[in-house]
Symmetry: C3
């Protein structure tokens, strides 16, 4: 019994990963690109809990308008979107050598202490799909006053690609 690859795990978990090739990423904004790669080091653009057509999951402020659990769900959706960006960048999730680190922005008020419980929604997806060796990442969770379009969460991720395997 062999260990499943990340793409096999996505099938097992039944995750529905959006396609960032169609329509082209950045089409709505024009000014942005999805990722940049220098050697095997890959930096992704900021990713939010929005569908490709712009519907937001749980906009607002965690601890005020929405609960920590709803923040967790938004972070989880953001991670699933991230899998789509990674496919778009590397052709397949199986071309990820390792995640590097994840800067997690959480819209929350002063005094809110459970930012990490929100961010876990993203990390739990990465660990489920990639396993601990590839899917664990450095992390910080940062309380923000606001994010574009009222989103409650945004992810800023870097990773390492398998050498020479990319689009």
């Amino acid at each position: 019994m062999s260990v499943p690859t990340a793409e096999e795990r996505v099938l097992e978990l039944g995750l529905e990963i959006p396609d960032y090739a169609t329509p082209p990423y950045g089409g709505r904004y024009g000014r942005m690109k999805a990722f940049h790669r220098v050697g095997d080091f890959v930096e992704l653009s900021g990713i939010t809990p929005e569908t490709r057509s712009g519907e937001r999951l749980h906009p607002g402020t965690v601890g005020v308008d929405i609960t920590t659990e709803q923040g967790y769900e938004a972070a989880r959706m953001t991670a699933i979107n991230t899998l789509g960006i990674i496919r778009y960048a590397l052709g397949s999730l199986d071309n990820v050598a390792a995640l590097s680190r994840a800067l997690c922005f959480v819209v929350c008020p002063p005094g809110f202490e459970d930012l990490h419980l929100v961010s876990n929604g993203a990390n739990d997806v990465f660990l489920d799909v990639f396993g601990t060796e590839i899917g664990s990442a450095g992390r910080a969770s940062i309380g923000s006053t606001a994010l574009s379009r009222g989103n409650c969460f945004e992810l800023w991720l870097s990773l390492e690609s398998v050498s020479g395997r990319a689009v």
Copy 2:
């Protein structure tokens, strides 16, 4: 008719780009350097809408003390400063292979949704100067309570240099 280079575009657009070599960058603070390069990957220090002598453009909070349009102007000035830092790091804007990504910090209150309209002030400069292929970048816009010295905007940029061409 050939496509103009980034340095040629700066002349066409009449941009006045500050010189970060004189006086030396970090002189006022001592603790900071302007950039670091590992291979072709370059990380820039945080850049604000200040002149070399420390005069700030539109300090305050976007949506409270200053308008979104003033925030856009501050982001635009920040991008022009960034061109100066890039010249200082790489010798010439023509040594940029591609921008990687731009983390844009916007001082704004809870409920403010137009952070991306502020950040566009920076990206519009980069697209005007470098064109879409080199000048588009990954991006996130993050609402902050405050920035050093009351600035309303700060840019945290990474980029790729043309191989082997640098100071």
Copy 3:
């Protein structure tokens, strides 16, 4: 009289640097790793002013619950923790070729202007230990509403390792 190395400076300064190998980093959270390295480029996880057993130095909001001087002390402790993470990542502080840049998150209210005076607490340690050439870094200081577990400061650092010398 030769220039002392970073490890020799730590002895001279009498710094007590925590050990991130024992107990293993991320044990409390499981989802996080301490660092990732691609070639000579190293990204560290977010680092806070907490002991290995989770005791926080000066939790709260700078300018409200705690003073700028207490924020400086928290940033200083964070930098000393960072030295422990660097040892864990590279085996020795003497394997640092140069710091790249430091994104400093400071919990503070709107209108607070002295974020850089807080962040200096981290940079002063790095300059004391590594000297100017290796220890100066790019920097930005970002006002945040909150950080995980009520911490007042968090550091997001990247650096360059001496080639080929690492664990």
